[in-house]
Structure formats: structure tokens, C-alpha cells
């Protein structure tokens, strides 16, 4: 069910196909899991329930209605404004490994028929770090939501601001916060989903500015790194420190939602906040005969917006 996203641009390489019949070892519990089972379970280990990390494309493909995604600004790529040693090499490596131009994919798509602006960060691309491009894309997708009166859903997975762009990365915290702030003023819903891991500058900006904040089970969520904190307080931290469950207990997030239920929870929230419907309500994401509804904004697609 994965990899249906249309990615015709820029000769992106597709994710490496795992040969059929391969068994993979759960990095958490060590259990051997048939890879098809793991994929079918949305990469949640059937043995221990650990939510393995997803790339941005995988994330969007398991969340959005089939063929509903219209990507924006796929061609934005990081430059090297500071001439930081080794940055261009790291970028090339990350581009080759992920097939993406940078650490965020943004656009407009449907979640159980609700049309929404959406973004996903990719931890596999330099730790999902936010430099100018990630900041710009999050800003643009928020501005798109404002312009079309759409809700905004962002899946974060990031180590924080990207060091190699220095203070420019830091300013992306302000830029994205300003853009998300305009949604609040326009009474448009913004749902923030924190995936493993969401830390540093991303938590200190848009990830913690959602009207509703959701986290995946077990996700690492926090501002400062565990090692830095342990050095500061000269104590070992408990295992569950800075987990999604820890954040829930301390009142920092609204809910922890297992991956298989996430799409349904998002749809319920979008409906509650008055999100527009792209298509007539349909229980199944994909039409069973494979006939896709015209995507909103495309010829034949309905014109819709938040009230």
C-alpha cells in the first residue's frame, strides 16, 4: 500500500525495495518479523508494539487518501549560505539516500475525504533538521492553508535546527511561528503530530504550536538532548524521560495515538473543526475499483474551503 505517491519530478530515486521473503529484526525487541507483516502493520512491531520511524513519503502515503496528494515546492533545495565545511557533501549524501531534495515534504491532500494542507519532516534526511528550506516549506504550506482556508496537519520528526545554516536556521523558528500564528488568527485548525523523535528547535516552534498536539507512542519529545541534561544535572535520567507518554503525563501534549488509529483520529478532529470535504463521505480511502476521484483543485475536483 506504500509508495503510491506520485513523484514524477526531478528523477527522485524510489526507496530501496526490500527483496520479498526477507525477515527483518525489530531494533527494539530483537524479534524477527516478516517484512510484509511489518509493512502491513505500518511498521509497528507486531511483537513489541514499537513504532519504527517512517520517512516523509511513507508517512504521507499511510495518512492521505490515495492519489489525493498534490506536492508543493518539491524543487526547493538547501544551498550553503555559511560555506560550512562538509555541508554540501552531507546534503548530497542525504539526497542520494532519501531521494528527496530536503527534509520536508509539503502539499495539499485528503484525510478520509477532508481536504487539508499537510507537511511531513523526514528524519532520514540529516536528522530531519530545519534549515532554510524546511522553514520555507513549512511557511509556504501554512500560507497555502491560509489562502485556501484549509486546515494544516504537520508530522514532525526532527533533531532540531540545522547547525550548518547557523543563525539562519534559528530564524526559521520565528518564520514558521509567524506563519502558523496567522492560521490561529484566521481561526483555521492546525494539528501537530510529533513522531519519533521531535526535539530542539522544531519543538520550540511549530510542533508545540498546534491547536491539538498528538504524539506517536514511545516517541522521543523534548527540547534539550538527554546527554546535555545528564551532564548539567549530573544524574542519570529515567528511561521514559522525554517520551510521548511522559509528555502526556506532564500536560504537554493532548494525546498519544497508536499509528493504526492516527488517520481516524485526525479525520475526526478535522471534522470537528469544520474542515472542508474534498469528496463525498466514503468509508474506504481508495475506491475499490481503483477509480480515483478527481483531486480537489484539479479539473472536476470540487472547490472547498473551511467555513
Amino acid at each position: 500500500m506504500l509508495n503510491w505517491l506520485r513523484r514524477p519530478k526531478h528523477g527522485r530515486i524510489s526507496r530501496r525495495d526490500i527483496p520479498a521473503g526477507l525477515w527483518v529484526k525489530c531494533s527494539r525487541c530483537g524479534a524477527a518479523v516478516y517484512h510484509r507483516d511489518l509493512e502491513r502493520a505500518l511498521k509497528v512491531c507486531p511483537k513489541c508494539g514499537w513504532h519504527h520511524r517512517l520517512g516523509a513519503e511513507e508517512r504521507l502515503s499511510i495518512t492521505l487518501d490515495e492519489h489525493s496528494f498534490e506536492e508543493m515546492d518539491a524543487n526547493l533545495a538547501s544551498g550553503d549560505p555559511l560555506r560550512f565545511d562538509g555541508y554540501r557533501e552531507k546534503l548530497s549524501e542525504a539526497r542520494a539516500n532519501t531521494g528527496n531534495a530536503d527534509a520536508a515534504i509539503v502539499g495539499v491532500g485528503g484525510i478520509e475525504g477532508y481536504r487539508t494542507a499537510v507537511g511531513a519532516l523526514d528524519f532520514a534526511f540529516m536528522g530531519g533538521s530545519m534549515g532554510s528550506v524546511v522553514g520555507e516549506k513549512i511557511t509556504r504550506v501554512a500560507e497555502r492553508a491560509l489562502q485556501d482556508r484549509l486546515p494544516l496537519v504537520i508530522f514532525s520528526a526532527s533533531g532540531g535546527a540545522r547547525m550548518q545554516e547557523g543563525a539562519l536556521s534559528l530564524m526559521q523558528l520565528a518564520k514558521t511561528s509567524a506563519a502558523v500564528g496567522r492560521l490561529h488568527e484566521a481561526h483555521l485548525p492546525y494539528l501537530s503530530v510529533m513522531c519519533d523523535p521531535t526535539t530542539g528547535g522544531v519543538t520550540a516552534s511549530f510542533a508545540f504550536q498546534g491547536d491539538v498536539i498528538i504524539a506517536e507512542p514511545g516517541a522521543l519529545i523534548g527540547f534539550a538532548g538527554r546527554r546535555v541534561i545528564e551532564q548539567t544535572i549530573r544524574r542519570k535520567l529515567p528511561e521514559r524521560f522525554q517520551t510521548a507518554e511522559f509528555c502526556l503525563e506532564h500536560g504537554l501534549i493532548d494525546m498519544v495515538v497508536p499509528r493504526p488509529e492516527l488517520r481516524g483520529v485526525l479525520a475526526r478532529l478535522l471534522r470537528f473543526f469544520g474542515a472542508p470535504r474534498a469528496v463525498a463521505p466514503e468509508p474506504a480511502a481508495a475506491a475499490p475499483d481503483g477509480e480515483a476521484q478527481p483531486a480537489p483543485g484539479e479539473p472536476g475536483g470540487p472547490e472547498v474551503a473551511c467555513p
Partner: protein, 331 residues
């Protein structure tokens, strides 16, 4: 969009590093001579004098090469005027406010009311100490979430009465501790940044020492962001950057150069609007002159921003941050 910076002057960086190594060598020789002369060699006194003179010469010529690491050292200089000193000197009849009304009063963050050049204003500033005792009391200028929440409460008060906000910034970082995390350090910073992008009064910011990452930005989003000549502004402390990149915090000097954190570079990136010159040799040599320079730089900006209609102010603030960033388009 931001323009890329020119290539670093690596020759100058290498020269400075070489001079510093020589200086360290001279210092070691002096120390060795001192230890021996304590016992039985009075003739070492003359040798020490010669070495000290050579060291002084080296120090003089090093001043001609400005390096990022020197800026870091000056920004962290213990005698550098503290943010709270700027606030208390710039605002007449300063009245301190305490507490975030939610948890406690954070001594690492100062908030209060006063008159700037006859105009009522609300000020926020992290507090660093002048000695170890003071520093322990104010947590080395590293606020907890309640510090940021206190600052936001003060800014909201300014908004209610239409008074401008003056933020003086000198903090190494938001405090990285377990209690800070439990109380939502990230949330507090995110909220401040978000609220400051749309606060309906003028916000004037001066980075006077260390502009330490998100912990600084949480009180540094504004209509005019100024920076003292030897202050630094960075996304991560150079030590942390070196530890992550090269697994060696000792290479902080290199990281400081790479991060382009000096006022000149930060201004070239469009992150600050103006550099305020410091008294010759640095603000620590003449606090009064440094404070006067900040006052002079703030005065016209305060007047100009106070005369702008609110909607225009907010439009410009959005546009200012909207434009910061550097990207390329792949074909």
C-alpha cells in the same frame, strides 16, 4: 531572500591560531621559570620579564586579527555589562515585576516597567551574575520555562497599554535540566516566539552578549533587532556544535568560525538590523559608554516604530522574518 556569506578568511584564522599557540608556549615557559626561581634561581626574573614583554607584543598584534573565538570570549567576558544593568540604566524609575503566576519567580529572567527617554516601556532581560555566587543565584543566565512565561506576561502587559517592549538579550541558552523539560521548556519558547511575531506593540531587541539559540530567540523576535559589536548570536553553542560534528568539544574555536556568529556576519545574513559599536577594546572596559551607545541606537528606532500604525507594524514584522532564509531551486 538572504544572500550567502563570502568565504571565511582562513589565512587570518590560521594566523590567529598560530599566535595563540605561541602565546600559550610563552606562558608555559614563564610558569616553568617561576616554579624554578622560587627555589634558587634569581636570574630567572630577567628571563621572565623578556618573555612577558614578548607575550604582550603578541597579544597586541592578535587584536588586529578579529576571530570568531575572540568575539565569543568578549561576549562571555565576566566584566561585560549585564543585561539587567542595561535595563536598569536605560529605564528611569525601573519597577521590577516578579513571577509567571503559574509556578514560581525565575531569577534568571528580569521583567519590569520604566521610562525610556520619557516614554513608558516594558523591559525583559535574562540575568547573568558578576561572580560565581551571583551566577548560581540566577542560574548563569539560563531561564526555566517560568522565566519565559514571566517575560511573556510582561510583554502582554505592554500590549494591553500600548507600550513598546524592550528586550535586552544575553543568555547562553535555555536551561537544559529535567525540571525545565517537565514544565515544558520547548512549549514556553515556542509560545513566546509565536506571540512575539504578532504582539501588537513595537518590540525592540538588543543582543548585548550571548544570543544563545532558542533560549535567546524566545525574547528576541522584534521589529528592530540590534546587536553590540562583540556580541554573538548562534543556533548552538560552539562547544555543542564541535561535540556533535567532531565528537570533540575542544574544537569549539573552529566551530565558532564555522557558525558565523559574529555581529558582522549575523548582520550580513540579515538576522539583525544594526550593529552598535562598542567602546574601544570592548564593552567590559567602559560599561557607561556601552550603555550610552545602546541608548543612542534605540532612541530613533523607538520613535519611528511608535509612530507606525499597528497593522503596518505587524505587516513589516511578518515580512522581515518571512524574508530570512537561503535556498536554491533544483531544476
Amino acid at each position: 531572500m538572504t544572500r550567502a556569506l563570502p568565504e571565511r578568511d582562513r589565512a587570518a584564522e590560521a594566523r590567529a591560531a598560530e599566535m595563540e599557540a605561541r602565546l600559550a608556549g610563552i606562558q608555559r615557559e614563564i610558569d616553568a621559570l617561576r616554579r624554578r626561581s622560587e627555589k634558587d634561581k634569581p636570574d630567572a626574573v630577567e628571563q621572565i620579564r623578556v618573555l612577558e614583554a614578548r607575550g604582550e607584543e603578541l597579544r597586541e598584534s592578535m587584536l588586529s586579527i578579529r576571530t570568531a573565538w575572540q568575539a565569543v570570549a568578549l561576549a562571555r567576558h565576566p566584566q561585560r555589562p549585564k543585561a539587567q544593568e542595561f535595563v536598569r540604566a536605560l529605564l528611569d524609575e525601573f519597577t521590577e515585576l516578579h513571577g509567571d503566576r503559574l509556578f514560581r519567580d525565575d531569577p534568571a529572567m528580569l521583567a519590569g516597567l520604566g521610562w525610556f527617554e520619557g516614554q513608558p516601556a516594558v523591559a525583559v532581560a535574562p540575568c547573568k551574575g558578576r561572580d560565581t555566587r551571583e551566577n548560581i543565584a540566577c542560574n548563569f543566565g539560563m531561564p526555566y520555562p517560568e522565566g519565559y512565561r514571566k517575560a511573556l506576561r510582561a510583554m502582554r502587559l505592554a500590549e494591553k497599554f500600548g507600550y513598546p517592549v524592550l528586550s535586552i538579550v544575553d543568555t547562553p541558552a535555555a536551561f537544559p535540566g529535567d525540571a525545565a523539560e517537565e514544565r515544558g521548556q520547548a512549549e514556553a519558547i515556542a509560545r513566546n516566539i509565536g506571540e512575539m511575531t504578532r504582539l501588537r506593540v513595537p518590540v525592540l531587541v538588543v543582543i548585548t552578549g550571548e544570543g544563545g539559540s532558542g533560549g535567546a530567540l524566545a525574547i528576541a523576535v522584534g521589529d528592530a533587532v540590534l546587536m553590540l559589536e562583540h556580541a554573538v548570536y548562534t543556533v548552538i553553542p560552539p562547544e555543542g556544535c564541535a561535540a556533535i560534528l567532531w565528537h570533540d568539544a575542544g574544537r569549539a574555536r573552529e566551530a565558532a568560525s564555522a557558525l558565523r556568529l559574529t555581529a558582522q556576519e549575523i548582520a550580513a545574513l540579515g538576522v539583525v538590523d544594526e550593529i552598535i559599536p562598542e567602546p574601544s577594546g570592548g564593552a567590559h572596559l567602559d560599561s557607561q559608554a556601552a550603555i550610552a551607545a545602546v541608548r543612542e541606537a534605540l532612541r530613533p528606532r523607538m520613535t519611528a516604530l511608535s509612530n507606525l500604525p499597528v497593522e503596518e507594524l505587524l505587516r513589516r514584522r511578518y515580512a522581515k522574518y518571512r524574508a530570512i532564509g537561503y535556498h536554491e531551486e533544483q531544476s
